[in-house]
């Protein structure tokens, strides 16, 4: 039985997993959905209530009925011939998403994580509500496109704004990032642009340090993240070189809440971010169900890849 890894070609964490599974003599097949349809094909038949057939990709013929587990690492969008018009590409994308994506999503294998669970868990407002329901502390949050609402929220306390989703865009010929920003008087005097999309505003949390908790099944690997610059104190993604890590354990109540959160949202894997206040209270920021862990694994010498490989090798059908 084979482990299926769905990942982009440039994914060094996936490279590590391939090696980990090879070291265990576990068959592994790696596929990037971006290869479809030009470098990959699907031949699937519904037979006796399950999909059987072959996914051909990466020089391999992968038997759908021969899979034990699947690791979803945000593979690329399908790559259609450039000759297609935008309308044709859109149609082809939809058909492929529903067809190939549907076959893969229905495979009765252990998913880490199932892409639909990842997608459902991507919504920050859902994350905050779920965390609160699971007993985790969350901070006051405003979702709005109304400048007056921002003024009202900011009058009640120090406020930050940050994106709901990706913190990077492609523009002006390159990549730009937009991380957490603390609102100041100049911002509040000119809130133009709030109205053009939903925006997230949160109460600033006094912090002693931050933590990233990686969940793999029922195992937790936690890194305390200490910022050594003003920029990283605000958002540690600003400069990784100004960070110091230590392996720590979250309080039992926080660990319990994290695991309950994963059960609620159907996640086997999750990357949780917390702020630890000066009084020691842990405040939930977010959970990225597809969050990166490679550099944390190195920094705190935590066997995260091996823990994931354990689950992929075991491959319980769901």
């Amino acid at each position: 039985m084979t482990v299926l890894i769905l990942a982009p070609e440039r994914d060094f964490t996936a490279d590590r997993m391939v090696k980990a599974l090879e070291d265990r003599d576990v068959p592994v097949a790696r596929v990037d959905t971006a290869w479809f349809p030009q470098r990959a094909s699907i031949d699937a038949e519904l037979r006796d209530g399950r999909w059987v057939g072959i996914l051909s990709a990466g020089g391999r013929a992968i038997a759908l009925e021969g899979l034990r587990s699947a690791w979803y690492r945000s593979p690329g969008a399908f790559g259609f011939p450039a000759e297609l018009s935008a309308t044709e590409r859109n149609w082809a994308m939809s058909e492929t998403k529903l067809g190939l994506g549907g076959v893969l999503a229905s495979l009765p294998v252990k998913w880490i994580n199932h892409p639909s669970r990842n997608a459902d868990a991507a919504y920050k407002p859902v994350q905050l509500i779920t965390a609160a329901r699971c007993g985790l502390t969350v901070t006051d949050t405003l979702v709005t496109n109304l400048p007056d609402a921002v003024q009202r929220f900011a009058e009640a306390g120090e406020t930050v704004t940050k994106a709901f989703g990706a913190a990077a865009i492609i523009e002006d010929g390159g990549r730009k990032t937009t991380f957490t920003h603390r609102l100041d008087a100049a911002d509040l005097a000119d809130l133009r642009g709030v109205e053009v999309s939903a925006h997230q505003f949160q109460r600033w949390i006094s912090k002693e340090y931050e933590a990233r908790v990686i969940v793999v099944g029922d195992r937790l690997f936690t890194a305390g993240i200490h910022a050594h610059s003003a920029a990283t104190y605000l958002d540690w993604r600003n400069d990784y070189k100004a960070l110091q890590y230590e392996r720590i354990e979250p309080p039992a109540s926080v660990a319990a809440g994290i695991l309950e959160y994963c059960v609620e949202l159907g996640l086997t894997y999750g990357a949780f971010d917390f702020v630890i206040r000066p009084d020691g209270n842990w405040v939930f920021l977010e959970c990225n169900a597809g969050g990166q862990y490679g550099w944390i694994e190195d920094a705190i010498d935590a066997p995260i890849t091996e823990a994931l490989a354990d689950l992929l090798e075991k491959g319980i059908a769901t």
């Binding site: 590409r89 893969l104 997608a119 492609i170 053009v196």
Partner: protein, 109 residues
């Protein structure tokens, strides 16, 4: 605010992201040469977007279908190169696993 309403083909504002397998989606193609709109039009959340710092240069690499890993010109997996041992990232441009533009830095995977 007065603005023209543009219909986006195939976009359903209430469709779950889970309908977008693969999650990267294909309904929008990034256009590298887009330029920032002036304040007042540009979303507030993008007002402070800054060019990402230069990331560490990746060695020349290709994807090896047999090894199922990224390899250098001598077919050595990049994860076995000494430089991969450094746990720190040299760029701010990682999106930390979010969909959309993927991590630019090759070390902070």
């Amino acid at each position: 605010m007065t603005a023209a309403v543009a219909e986006v083909s195939g976009a359903d504002p209430f469709a779950p992201v889970s309908a977008q397998f693969a999650l990267d989606g294909a309904s929008f193609t990034s256009r590298r040469d887009d330029v920032a709109s002036p304040d007042g039009i540009r979303p507030f959340g993008l007002r402070r977007a800054l060019p990402a710092r230069a990331g560490r240069e990746l060695p020349s690499w290709t994807y090896d279908e047999q090894q199922q890993k990224a390899v250098d010109s001598s077919a050595c997996p990049l994860i076995q190169l000494p430089i991969m041992g450094d746990p720190s990232a040299d760029t701010t441009s990682t999106t930390d696993g979010e969909d959309g533009p993927s991590s630019e830095d090759w070390n902070n995977d």
